[in-house]
């Protein structure tokens, strides 16, 4: 029996998260008398989940190599500000491209320091977290960028978070597309095999001819560009952004990844689990809002969940690695 469970967990690390999703969905639906499952709430929940998931996917890829990226909150803020700041001037198409380029740039800075200079990723990305949050505040200096009516009619704006297709926010479609692409890259392609190998044992991967430096650099660029996209998608949905945009999101992104079965030590991740992790966190958030609980309590709940997820993770790892 235990061997069977171990086998199941080994092959499907997101199994626990799926169970959790079903359990909390049922609980929340019953406690709120069905309003948690209303179309309106599910629509808003899916948009919120999508933007968090996109950021968390990048985080998961970084975690796969045994690193961490805590700058994603600031990067999403820069992405949002660039998108909404430039869209009225150069159009939303160029605005979006600029936002993504900033994501590449910040991710690249992180990557150079971590991969080429060998500085711990926690330190580097803590630095860029503050640096770009500061820049975000400085650029807006108390003002906020809002999407004009012209911008709101533009195709790109609607296609990237500002509009819906059949009632579903376009951000959700992007999240699912990115999930499919990353799922294929990580689990079905040589690059993914090497990525996971580095997280498992960097020295062994290097001895097998894997270009450890290049892959470590690459994951930070991917994380940067996804965080910027996440910020742009969310900004298009909300319609305005100020200097505090994205603040604190890095914690939710890390929590979603951990909750979804990504091991912080590296080498084992689940992207489907990460999506579900984002759903759980956003689900709890919306549940607390429906109950009328002050939103500040959400932070406390996230903290608790991360600690519990870490504990469960340890137990499961032990179970899996027993011969």
């Amino acid at each position: 029996m235990r061997a069977a469970i171990a086998h199941l967990v080994r092959r499907h690390p997101e199994g626990g998260t799926v169970t959790l999703v079903v359990l909390i969905s049922l609980t929340f639906a019953i406690v709120t008398g069905g309003s948690w499952l209303s179309t309106g709430n599910l629509q808003s929940l899916s948009q919120l989940t999508a933007v968090l998931a996109i950021m968390a996917f990048g985080e998961a890829i970084v975690i796969a190599t045994g690193q961490i990226d805590i700058s994603v909150g600031s990067v999403s803020g820069i992405g949002a500000l660039t998108f909404l700041g430039l869209a009225p001037v150069v159009g939303s198409g160029f605005g979006l491209v600029a936002a993504l380029l900033f994501g590449v740039l910040i991710g690249g800075i992180n990557g150079v320091f971590v991969a080429f200079l060998g500085i711990p990723s926690l330190l580097v990305t803590l630095g860029t977290l503050f640096l770009f949050q500061g820049i975000g505040y400085a650029v807006t200096s108390g003002f906020s960028f809002a999407a004009s009516n012209v911008v709101r009619k533009q195709f790109i704006y609607n296609g990237f978070g500002g509009g819906t297709v059949a009632g579903v926010n376009t951000g959700v479609i992007w999240a699912l597309t990115i999930l499919v692409v990353l799922q294929l890259a990580v689990f079905e392609m040589p690059v993914g095999n090497r990525l996971l190998a580095i997280g498992g044992d960097a020295a062994s991967s290097f001895s097998r001819g894997v270009n450890v430096t290049r892959i470590k650099f690459g994951v930070f660029v991917v994380s940067g560009v996804l965080a910027a996209l996440s910020g742009a998608l969310d900004a298009a949905f909300i319609g305005y952004a100020d200097g505090s945009f994205g603040a604190g999101m890095e914690l939710s992104a890390i929590a979603a990844a951990v909750l979804g079965g990504c091991h912080l030590a590296g080498g084992r991740i689940s992207l489907i689990g990460t999506l579900l992790g984002a759903f759980i966190l956003r689900g709890i958030q919306s549940f607390l809002i429906i109950l009328g609980v002050q939103p500040q309590w959400y932070i406390l709940v996230v903290g608790l969940i991360v600690v519990l997820a870490g504990l469960a993770d340890r137990t499961l790892t032990r179970l899996v690695l027993k011969r």
Binding site: M189, N193, A197, D201, S204, S207, G209, V210, G267, L321
Partner: protein, 271 residues
């Protein structure tokens, strides 16, 4: 320095050019001199025992040969071509496979994925490289079977589930089944049972007979003296002995190592 009677020792009856040639190689970590002016040639179809006490520089030398670290001085030639850029990928592409004690396998990957790590077989779909999982599974399952690992080993299982001996056997199997020209074995029989050890040594001899160059690193002179064609002894980062097996007895060689080790210093860990 003690050398063979012909001055330049080599495998019996092979008046050919060396496959790997190390010329005056030195390596220092800051002030610490791990290797000093080491020159040694390795020939195809030869089983060379690279022997020395802990910290003698054996592992450092093979790390240079397998491209993990570049030497700070001297030259390395492979098949007559001077190696300028040192990278494991380059060594692997040249047909050099190194079986190391502590590294080589990623615990989090499946047996099959470890087998092909760094040279994954792909199927192209719309020009994109996708892992050929069928080939990965079949090829690694064959190796697991041919090298006598447990029948219960599933190539989709993480390699962490194998025992130490099984992992070592698997690393050797991987090195052997890819077409290679040089196999370097770094203390290959550590952590192995007596029977597994005999098997590994038989394998080393078989590889040599197939025409490969086998460099076998050990500190057990008696074990290597039985199977090697030539013994090279390192001490404090210098080559002190390079003789054909028949030129000296195992006891005499052991004496050289024992006397030398009194002055040896510990080699720092390379990260």
């Amino acid at each position: 320095m003690i050398t063979g009677s012909d001055g330049q020792s080599r495998a019996a009856g092979s008046p050919k050019k060396p496959l790997i040639s190390i010329k005056n190689v030195g390596l220092s970590y800051g002030n610490f001199q791990a290797l000093t002016d080491v020159s040694v040639d390795f020939y195809q179809g030869e089983l060379v025992g690279l022997v020395g006490d802990n910290g003698a520089g054996k592992t450092t030398l093979i790390r240079i040969i397998s491209g993990i670290i570049p030497p700070t001085s001297g030259e390395v030639y492979f098949d007559g071509e001077r190696i300028i850029k040192f990278h494991p990928k380059k060594a692997i592409d040249l047909g050099l496979e190194c079986i190391q004690q502590a590294i080589g396998l990623c615990d989090n990957l499946s047996v099959g994925r470890n087998y092909f790590l760094g040279r994954e077989p792909v199927r192209r779909i719309l020009g994109l490289p996708f892992l050929d999982k069928k080939k990965i599974r079949e090829a690694s399952a064959k190796v697991v079977h041919d090298f006598g690992l447990r029948d219960s080993v599933d190539v989709d299982d993480e390699i962490a589930l194998l025992s130490g001996g099984e992992k070592q056997t698997f690393k050797i199997a991987r090195a052997v089944t890819f077409r290679n020209r040089v196999i370097i074995m770094d203390e290959p029989t550590n952590h192995l049972s007596v029977r597994e050890r005999t098997r590994v040594n038989e394998l080393a001899v078989q590889l040599k007979q197939q025409g490969l160059l086998v460099i076998y690193i050990t500190h057990d002179i008696f074990q290597i003296h039985r199977i090697a064609d030539r013994i090279v002894i390192l001490e404090n980062g210098r080559k002190v002995t390079d003789v054909p097996r028949d030129a000296m007895s195992a006891e005499a060689l052991e004496g050289i190592i024992r006397d030398g080790s009194r002055t040896s210093t510990k080699e720092p860990k390379v990260s």
